[in-house]
């Protein structure tokens, strides 16, 4: 337990006969950013709601910071911040008034309320609109206000459901920066998202959801090894040589495939960049690009679901 802020064992949710969440196990470690990924209807939101005790579980156990959300929801909700999918605020109230209401619900001592609100709004760069009505806020500002609420709450765990959905690239970038900020201040973050490349950039570990099951779990590199196979993919761009023939015989190279005119994709079981460069140059070719391809979550995701569909 010491290092896990959330422990889920055999968590089950039935909607009639449908298994929305099918006996999953999850561990979220202290101080990490954990991503829940999966297609629509995979069960991400349902899982999140069960972690907070906002919907009943049909089986299994959950432990959040040492508390059981089913029996001790108040203790859990006092320590966990939640940003729901498409968060809403009271439009007729200002940003400050909205947070004051939350602060009262949290029973924050009156003397601290003002300071904590101001500080929280500063951390999400909303302090200049503190007394503006939320009805004038854009989607991105509301989302940031939701983060400010979590900051004000001084939550130990932040659970964010689709925090970047509906945001433009710049707003997404800013929001992800704020999520990194949460992590920096020691908060463990659990987020669900569709924006894979963005998720990849912030998440320490991810879990791939499919039809209520956790299909894969681990770091992005681990998942890539599992789904795409182990190995270092390289991209080579060169002219004046037949790359495939030149590279023949380098120890470790597994496949060489021409992707387009002058561009090859190489998979090796170790780092062969130096050897590849040397061969091409000594064969008289002009090497214009030699890149170590980071495994992309997008690729893992697409490939995984392709295979899942084939298997079905």
């Amino acid at each position: 337990m010491a290092d896990n802020v959330i422990e889920v064992r055999g968590l089950l949710k039935l909607y009639g006969a449908q298994r929305a969440v099918n006996a999953i196990d999850l561990d979220i470690r202290r101080g990490e950013i954990f991503g829940l990924l999966g297609p629509n209807g995979a069960g991400k939101t349902t899982t999140i709601l069960m972690l907070l005790g906002l919907t009943e579980t049909s089986g299994g156990t959950v432990n959040v910071l040492g508390f059981d959300p089913v029996r001790q929801p108040l203790e859990v909700k006092r320590r966990v911040g939640y940003l729901p999918d498409a968060v809403g605020f009271y439009d007729h109230l200002t940003a400050r008034e909205n947070l004051v209401y939350t602060a009262r619900l949290l029973d924050i001592p009156r003397r601290q309320i003002d300071g904590r609100i101001l500080e929280a709004l500063k951390s999400v760069k909303l302090d200049d609109v503190i007394d503006k009505r939320v009805s004038t806020f854009s989607r991105g500002m509301r989302q940031r206000l939701g983060i400010a609420e979590i900051v004000m709450k001084q939550a130990e765990v932040a659970i964010l459901d689709e925090p970047t959905s509906g945001l433009d690239p710049h707003a997404t970038f800013e929001l992800l920066e704020m999520i990194r900020g949460l992590k920096k201040s020691g908060v463990a973050v659990l987020l669900s998202s569709h924006l894979l490349d963005r998720v990849q950039s912030v998440c320490d570990r991810v879990a791939l959801f499919n039809k209520g099951n956790v299909a894969l779990m681990g770091t992005v590199v681990e998942l890539a090894n599992q789904v795409l196979g182990a190995g270092h993919p390289l991209q080579v761009e060169a002219s004046g040589v037949d790359v495939a023939a030149t590279l023949n015989g380098i120890v470790g190279v597994q496949t060489v495939r021409q992707e387009s005119d002058g561009s090859w994709r190489i998979v090796a079981d170790r780092d062969v960049r130096a050897a590849v460069a040397q061969r091409i140059v000594s064969a008289g070719g002009a090497l214009t690009r030699l890149a170590d391809l980071q495994p992309s979550l997008e690729e893992v995701y697409t490939r995984y679901f392709q295979e899942a569909r084939h298997a079905a």
Binding site: R71, L74, Y82, F89, D91, T102, R104, L105, G146
Partner: protein, 320 residues
């Protein structure tokens, strides 16, 4: 359902109550409702004051008659006007209590704070009830003030006591309708649908129920009435049916409180007549005893409807 959950169900009740109360008081809707009440209440009061200025008997309960006098010009007393306006106010305050939180997508955020659904629902109910109480007290004071100015005599102590009891009954009556409106706000996600349903219940009790009760009575009553007892039985059955409507309970309670000469509500039995001098007012405590069943009926109705809303709300999914 929560299995042996920990922590008080009332955690967070105070903040919810205060927020709801403040929201109501500052809302445009409240202005409209108050305007409504003043317009509908002003005419009966003004005309009864006109009539009462000519009455000089200091022993009559002249202040109470401001509330109950049915003047010829308007044809409706102040309390009768309240009988159907209070439900409208309560519906206006409660019809979107819960579903608006869904629609604004604030519900899951609020419920992710350390608070049970119990406190949210009860806080909203009490906030609405307090708003209603403020409106009714204001109205009551206005009427009393107008009476003081125009009649030139202060109310007697017993009149004030009866008037205050009337206020309490009126608030309880509003509570029943507030609970009904909130029940629909829990059942329906659309605020328009829930408003429509609450208004439907209101229309049902005020227009359809008297007719329906009459028809039911014809069906249920014995075909022949042979004795006084038979007659009394049919009478009380009819009354029982009518008393299922909160409006009936309210008007009976008002009658008992504001017309002190009322000895019984409903058909009078010969045994009750014995020794009663018609026209002699009952002492205040006797009147309160008389209307006690009506008041408990109103409060019980309020609790039953609120409990129904509570049970449904507990089972509802929070996700929008």
């Amino acid at each position: 359902m929560p299995r042996s959950r920990e922590g008080s169900p009332f955690t967070g009740l105070g903040p919810v109550f205060l927020k709801e109360f403040a929201d109501h008081l500052s809302s445009a809707r409240m202005m409209v409702l108050m305007l409504f009440v003043i317009v509908f209440g002003a005419f009966p009061v003004a005309t009864s004051l006109q009539t009462l200025r000519t009455v000089v008997d200091p022993n009559s309960f002249i202040f109470l008659r401001i509330f109950t006098l049915e003047s010829e010009q308007v044809g409706i007393s102040f309390t009768a006007a309240l009988n159907f306006i209070i439900p409208l106010m309560a519906i206006g305050l409660g019809f979107d209590a819960v579903n608006s939180e869904f629609n604004r997508r604030t519900l899951s955020r609020v419920l992710s704070q350390p608070i049970y659904r119990d406190a949210l629902l009860l806080g909203k109910f009490l906030g609405g009830l307090a708003t209603l109480a403020v409106a009714l007290v204001a109205l009551w004071l206005i009427v009393l003030g107008a009476g003081l100015l125009l009649l030139g005599v202060p109310p007697r102590g017993v009149e004030v006591a009866r008037g205050l009891s009337f206020l309490v009954v009126a608030i309880a009556y509003g509570g029943v309708w507030l609970a009904i409106a909130m029940l629909f706000s829990v059942i329906f996600r659309s605020t328009a649908t829930s408003a429509l349903c609450a208004l439907g219940v209101w229309l049902f009790f005020f227009i359809l129920w008297p007719l329906l009760a009459g028809a039911l009575l014809v069906g249920l009553a014995p075909s022949e009435i042979r004795s006084m007892d038979d007659y009394a039985a049919v009478q009380s059955m009819g009354l029982g049916l009518m008393r299922l409507s909160p409006g009936t309970l309210f008007s009976e309670a008002v009658l008992g409180l504001l017309s002190p000469e009322t000895r019984t509500l409903g058909p009078m039995l010969p045994s009750q007549m014995r020794g009663a001098i018609m026209g002699a007012p009952l002492p205040f405590d006797q009147s309160v005893l008389l209307i006690w069943p009506q008041v408990t009926g109103l409060i019980a109705g309020m609790i039953v409807v609120f409990a129904a809303a509570y049970v449904i709300f507990q089972r509802e999914e929070v996700r929008a």
